[in-house]
């Protein structure tokens, strides 16, 4: 099966539709009746204190919780109108179209080139020139082609933390995803690398819908179009980012973003 043969989601204006979502880890309820619609081509930030459920919700969007023991998920998670938890949903199709970048850069212990071509190869692409094109396109998409074009055969582990994280974004872009989930993508990075990744997000959003978990309020305010504030598993407020940070409607949101929580 080649990348181009894997079906894409038919994303309308609403890319992701979450309805009455509940998630339990055993008897602990981590998500409580979440309802939200995420628009195509926007950057959506999830904010909230540790343990509020934002990463849990993010992981639901490409079924990363499937293998977690005692995890029970209720409600509807639709991407492009398709229920991603329905029987017959191909995980390969879901994970190709919904990429993920984690908090800590996690390049494979192999060359830059092999990191990026790993997934395309997995999906059956063998043609060298096609792979070369994918590498160039992905690295350009992650704004690091000029930095790495002469070091494609070097180990990815020799790159700096910021470069490794952007390489992971490039790797995620290698299979042309429609949605990119980012779980605190810059929390381990210095301000310059953070700035580069934020710029990258802004340039990617034309083609990729981005959902980002962040603990950095300024980052959410800088890069996102919409922001959702979570507390104890509930979505307290979800609105335009400018409204959330200048005039939140819920007292809990106000207290959290002004640092008066607790």
């Amino acid at each position: 099966m080649k990348v181009k043969e894997i079906e894409k989601f038919n994303l309308e204006e609403t890319a992701i539709n979450i309805q009455n979502a509940n998630l339990y880890y055993g008897s602990f309820q981590a998500l409580k009746d979440i309802n939200m619609q995420i628009k195509k081509g926007e950057i959506t930030a999830f904010i909230g204190p540790s343990g509020c459920g934002k990463s849990t919700l993010l992981k639901c969007l490409n079924r990363m919780n499937d293998l977690v023991e005692n995890c029970k998920i209720e409600g509807k998670f639709e991407i492009g109108g398709r229920d991603i938890y329905a029987q017959g949903m191909m995980l390969q199709m879901l994970r190709k179209n919904v990429g993920m970048v984690f908090q800590k850069p996690n390049p494979f212990p192999m060359s830059v080139y092999d990191n990026i071509t790993y997934a395309p190869r997995l999906y059956g692409i063998r043609d060298k020139s096609t792979l070369n094109e994918i590498v160039e396109k992905s690295l350009k998409g992650a704004a690091m082609w000029n930095e790495l074009k002469d070091r494609l055969n070097k180990s990815a582990l020799a790159l700096s933390g910021g470069q490794q994280q952007r390489l992971c974004i490039a790797r995620a872009l290698s299979v042309d995803p429609q949605i990119l989930l980012m779980d605190e993508p810059t929390s381990a990075l210095d301000p310059i690398s953070t700035g580069k990744i934020e710029e990258l997000c802004s340039s990617l959003k034309e083609n990729v819908t981005i959902v980002m978990v962040t603990h950095n309020m300024q980052q959410a305010a800088r890069v996102s179009d919409k922001t959702g504030f979570f507390l104890l598993g509930e979505l307290i407020e979800f609105d335009e980012t400018e409204n959330i940070f200048s005039n939140p409607q819920k007292e809990q949101t106000e207290r959290y973003i002004t640092g008066r929580f607790g």
Binding site: M217, I257, G259, G262
Partner: protein, 213 residues
């Protein structure tokens, strides 16, 4: 939970209240000079303008520092934005009060135009209420004060009519009535600044600014 942002913001608000009080007293004194045609004390009012200018610089610097260091959000962000905007209006009120006082020595005192005196009284009321609405976060007072601007505009039109009548009667006092016309315009502008302050008071509380709706 109190933090340094709370303390610093409180301090800036106190400074702002003091700045308002000085500008307001300048306006009251300029009005009194105009009524009595008192030339001696005009300079005192003009000198006070420096206090208002200095207060503006201090508050502006304090607000900038809070923006830089705390990167505030929500009500904190709105409060600091309000202060930054409102100090410009209060500073202009101080300038225009000094300008009015500065004109008084040029007047003979023979020409009295009642509407201008009324404008002065109304200007004091508008400045006092607008500053109070922002300091005390009183939206109702802000709304009431804004309505007074219509009275100010009517008084300005009336004063203009009275000035034209004086000119028609005799050209002897042409220079003096021209000065009085400037004073009327200053009062009218002070009314506009008071309205601006009220609008910032509303933004601070509601997050909605009238002009951006």
């Amino acid at each position: 939970m109190e933090n340094s942002l709370d303390n610093n913001l409180m301090r800036l608000k106190t400074e702002f209240a003091k700045m308002c009080r000085i500008a307001e007293s300048m306006l009251e004194e300029a009005n009194a000079l105009l009524i009595k045609a008192d030339k001696e004390k005009a300079l005192e009012v003009v000198k006070k303008d420096k206090l208002v200018d200095d207060a503006e610089m201090d508050i502006e610097h304090g607000c900038m520092r809070l923006l830089l260091r705390n990167q505030p959000f929500a009500k904190d962000f709105r409060d600091i934005s309000c202060l930054l905007k409102a100090i410009t209006d209060v500073e202009r009120i101080g300038d225009q009060s000094a300008d009015i006082a500065g004109i008084v020595p040029c007047l003979s005192g023979k020409i009295k135009i009642k509407s201008i005196i009324d404008m002065g009284k109304l200007a004091v009321e508008m400045v006092r209420s607008s500053c109070s609405s922002l300091i005390n976060e009183d939206i109702e007072l802000a709304e009431k004060t804004q309505v007074l601007d219509d009275d100010m505009d009517r008084l300005f039109d009336k004063a203009l009519g009275e000035i034209v009548d004086v000119i028609k009667e005799s050209s002897e006092h042409a220079r003096e009535v021209a000065e009085l016309l400037m004073i009327a315009k200053y009062y009218e502008r002070i009314g506009d600044h008071a309205v601006n302050i009220c609008e910032w008071a509303q933004f601070g509380n509601t997050g909605i600014h009238k002009k951006t709706q």
